[in-house]
Amino acid sequence: MSNGLKSKIFLEQAGYRQRRLRDALRFWPIFGCILLVIPLLWKPDATDHALDARALIYVFGVWALLIAVTAIMARGLRVDDVPDPTPKP
């Protein structure tokens, strides 16, 4: 009896985590869009080349961050209810 209850709670929790992970997957690209337009707010100054290097590092840094977090989320994600790959006829 108690065993059955335990396993049920465990399942619920796992299911809950999966759902929140999917929510995170949905939010992440929106967040990414915002991060990538932030540099537009920087005041451009043609004489100040320091901004160039900063922009370069910022853009590639955000890029790497987006990839890394997506990879971590993809590892945790259980893509169930996928129909089986169609066999070759």
Partner: protein
């Protein structure tokens, strides 16, 4: 010194290796051990055709001209990929559920399998892809020219044009060989996918190698590189906000809308789970491709003389530094980028052109034609694809010549992208909004196409090429609000942002507006519900309410498209699922739906629907049927579905029982007939034997008559013995007391033996044996097998009613079995008799002609079952056809 001829030789070697890779992959796939071809790695690498020559050469040029703006082209797809849960997952699921073959097919299928929408999307895609293909040809040509120049020759236009043409011809050959080899039900091309995966690795390594050389070899390390970047003239960050955001949107949307990306993302996707891995792996690839772009641009501007083309820095920087090997690698990288893009793009476009333009036209030109043969539509499609590939490449060449190949690479690419994304509103609207209608989609697409042509495509040929300077400055006929770069009098916008803004805005606006005010047809609403709710496994009402067509007609049609083997397999599977024997299942609405979907995998939804509709008689879905799909009825539907699932099992049993009962009734009638028949058969010879022996006994007759009478008695006795032998043979076989003498023999020889024994050589029956027969050795009881062959050949002679009797014997291998087909040119056997002919004592023709007791086929079947195989009637062959199944 790397001579020009060496470059040509190395390129040819490289192409030969690609041929080999593609060929091996195809062979592995046909042998069935292709699991590694369906790995997430190959999937991710195949996505890399996003990085074309435009990336390989153009990105550096772009960075040299506009600084960091070039990354937007790779950041847009990155955002789209990491947001895969929103859109891509749904597209892939729909693509699988609906057997989508191309982006035109997706749009057409969603909006009621509309042929006209398919045509519109195809036209947009072809027009938008043309500049891009031209761009690839141009970049390969320019790269060759660079090597020619270092070899001392300065190329003129004629050399460039000739090279572009030869590259196009080579690509045509490769694509036709590996892209149109077969008409896969799900449109996967293993050879091509493997080749582009290899090319993906080559181009990444090449660009990274040049980058590493520039940073560590020329600049002296990352820190020095950063100082160089800071002190260079390239202004990295001077962004126009409008362009930055527009380009992010444009490139993200292009990932979905470019026909070649749709092909690799959705059509060639083997497993939805691969998306989860590609969601980070593909952005990583893009980032690596972009990583060294700025350093190469900065160093190129430093090292090379002013006025050098920055689009070729990837090639010219290593050459300038004397690194011949690196330059060669870089050349191969660019070559890979261009060729892989062109191959996939032409396949995707050719599929669209053949499925949505050529085949509908071909079918409408010959309505209801009866003189058809198995696989004829398939041949038309394959031919149409080959011609379309040539056509698309030719258009690319024409654009290259007309545009003069002068415009900067980046500009051409963006024009092409903005054309392709005109499909976005119809596609996303169709996938997420059930209210989207066919007319709305058409209105949006046409509006977008018109604005894109006017504001971006036509001006892209250059000033005075197609549009004169006065029109650009003052508008056509002096209508200043129609100026291509200042529509509606709004001036001061960047031309690209301007064109994209107006075309997308009006495209989306028209799409929504017309959708809101029109009323969709029932089929549109049905498809809309299936697309939008693809994740909710509710079974929708089938689009066919009555199924009036005969199974045999459907089989003939399916064979025209898929070829006989695949079509027969589908019908056989369905028949087995329904619990029936043979090849002809009951034609239920669900089966028609399934068949239509299978056919859609080859010819697209619209054509498949039209062809099935022709047979079924247009009794498609009605408004009443749709009530079942409406939301309020969903729960009732769910419940009834569950009931249906339960009752379908009972239905299957009932159907089997009904069949058995029918058979028993028919048999009992036949048995009664047989008893009188057999007594008749036994009595007739007996009577004549008795009367003639009476005469002989009385004596006193001439010797000649004596001889004749005893001859008659002898013949009749032989007939009696034969009949009794048959009966005995059958009872022995049925009781399983038969001894098998297993031997190995050549099938061709056995058939020859049977023809000889059946007297096949001496009369009018013409027998055509397939040459493969002679290559097959079988191990079984050879005498028994020959007995079956003899029986079938003798049957043809007896029953085939054609003037010039002809029998075709062929063999196939499938699932460890040999399938030996005997097909004659007679009138075939009526469906109600097809099951019965194998029963004992059954006879279709009248007895006088047959001269037997109807035991032959029953004996054949018993023999084949003893040998571990079977014999069955094969319908849909325009004649009487039997298929013998024999284990290997």
């Amino acid at each position: 010194m790397l001579g020009f001829n060496t470059v040509i030789a190395i390129s040819l070697c490289y192409v030969a290796i690609l041929f080999m890779v593609a060929f091996l992959a195809e062979r592995r796939a046909t042998q069935g051990n292709a699991t590694w071809l369906h790995s997430p790695l190959i999937y991710t690498l195949s996505l890399s055709i996003y990085c074309t020559a435009w990336t390989f050469y153009g990105a550096v040029g772009y960075a040299a001209r506009s600084g960091l703006e070039f990354v937007t082209i790779y950041l847009g797809p990155t955002l789209m990929m990491i947001g895969w849960w929103w859109i891509l997952r749904k597209l892939v699921r729909i693509g699988r559920a609906q057997r989508i073959t191309s982006i035109a097919d997706l749009v057409s299928s969603r909006f009621g399998k509309s042929t006209s929408l398919g045509v519109i999307v195809t036209v947009i895609s072809v027009v938008a892809a043309t500049p891009y293909i031209a761009l690839q040809l141009q970049s390969v040509t320019l790269a060759f020219a660079v090597f020619a120049q270092t070899g001392g020759q300065l190329w003129q236009d004629a050399d460039l044009n000739a090279t572009a043409m030869w590259v196009a011809v080579g690509l045509f050959i490769f694509t036709v060989i590996f892209g149109t080899r077969n008409l896969d039900a799900n449109e996967r091309h293993h050879g091509i996918v493997m080749a582009i995966a290899v090319e993906a690795v080559v181009k990444l390594i090449a660009l990274l190698a040049v980058g590493v050389f520039v940073v560590w070899g020329v600049a002296g390390g990352p820190a020095e590189m950063m100082t160089r970047i800071d002190s260079s003239d390239v202004v990295l960050w001077d962004q126009n906000g409008g362009r930055w955001v527009s380009l992010l949107f444009l490139s993200g949307a292009a990932l979905l809308c470019l026909p070649r990306m749709f092909q690799v993302l959705v059509v060639e996707n083997a497993d939805e789970r691969h998306l989860a891995i590609a969601s980070w792996a593909f952005p990583t690839y893009l980032m690596l491709m972009s990583l060294f772009v700025v350093p190469i641009a900065v160093v190129g501007l430093d090292l090379l003389p002013a006025g050098s083309n920055p689009d070729l820095f990837v090639l010219t920087v290593p050459l300038h530094e004397g690194k011949q090997g690196l330059a060669m690698l870089s050349f191969l990288g660019g070559f890979s980028s261009a060729t892989s893009m062109v191959m996939v793009a032409t396949i995707a476009l050719a599929t669209m052109v053949s499925n949505h333009i050529v085949v509908p036209m071909w079918l409408s030109l010959r309505p209801n034609e009866q003189a058809v043969m198995s696989g004829d539509v398939r041949h038309v499609i394959l031919l149409a694809r080959r011609l379309s590939i040539a056509g698309v490449l030719f258009l690319g060449l024409v654009y290259y010549r007309v545009s003069g190949g002068g415009t900067a690479l980046a500009a051409i690419g963006l024009v092409s992208f903005s054309g392709a994304v005109q499909i976005l509103p119809a596609m996303l609207g169709g996938v997420f909004w059930r209210g989207a209608s066919r007319l709305g989609a058409a209105a949006g697409l046409l509006t977008g196409l018109a604005f894109w042509l006017w504001t971006l495509f036509l001006p892209s040929f250059g000033v005075e090429a197609l549009i004169s300077q006065t029109v650009i400055e003052q508008g056509p006929y002096g209508l200043s609000w129609l100026r291509p770069q200042a529509m509606f009098g709004i001036v001061g916008l960047d031309p690209l942002v301007h064109g994209l803004l107006w075309s997308m805005l009006l495209n989306t606006g028209m799409f929504i507006l017309v959708s809101l005010v029109t009323f969709p047809t029932p089929l549109e609403r049905l498809q809309g519900a299936q697309f939008v709710n693809v994740f909710e496994h509710s079974a929708a009402a089938p689009a066919w309410t009555t199924a009036a067509a005969g199974a045999e007609d459907l089989l003939i049609m399916a064979q025209r498209i898929m070829g006989s083997e695949q079509a027969q397999a589908i019908f056989e599977r369905e028949a087995a699922r329904q619990g029936k024997n043979g090849f002809l299942p009951e034609v239920t609405p669900n089966f028609v739906e399934l068949l239509e979907r299978e056919l859609a995998g080859s010819v697209g939804a619209a054509t498949s629907h039209a062809m099935v509709g022709q047979l079924i008689g247009g009794s498609g879905v009605s408004v009443e049927d749709l009530i079942a799909v409406a939301d309020e009825a969903a729960q009732i539907l769910e419940y009834s579905n569950r009931l249906e699932a339960k009752s379908s099992e009972q239905e299957q049993t009932a159907r089997a029982l009904r069949d058995a009962n029918d058979k028993l009734t028919a048999l009992s009638i036949q048995k009664d007939a047989f008893l009188s028949q057999i007594s008749h058969e036994l009595r007739t010879p007996m009577t004549s034997i008795r009367s003639f022996s009476d005469i002989l006994r009385d004596g006193d007759i001439p010797l000649s008559d004596q001889k004749r009478y005893s001859g008659i008695i002898h013949d009749e006795a032989i007939r009696l013995t034969g009949l009794l032998d048959d009966l005995l043979d059958l009872s022995v076989l049925e009781n399983g007391q038969v001894m098998l003498h297993v031997n190995t023999g050549n099938l061709g020889v056995l058939i020859e033996r049977a023809i000889g024994a059946a007297g096949g050589l001496e009369d009018t029956l013409e027998i055509v044996c397939a040459p493969e027969l002679a290559q097959i050795a079988v191990t079984t009881d050879l005498d028994r097998l020959v007995q079956v062959f003899i029986n079938l050949i003798a049957n043809t002679r007896k029953y085939c009613d054609a003037e010039q009797q002809r029998l075709k014997i062929s063999v196939l291998k499938r699932d460890g079995m040999y399938l030996i087909d005997f097909v004659d040119n007679g009138c075939g056997i009526a469906p109600e008799n097809q099951q019965l002919i194998f029963e004992k004592f059954s006879r279709v023709a009248d007895g006088s002609k047959a001269g037997g007791a109807g035991l032959g086929l029953a004996i054949c079947r018993e023999i084949m079952r003893r040998l571990g195989g079977d014999i069955a009637y094969l319908p849909g062959q325009y004649g009487t056809a039997f298929r013998i199944t024999l284990p290997k």
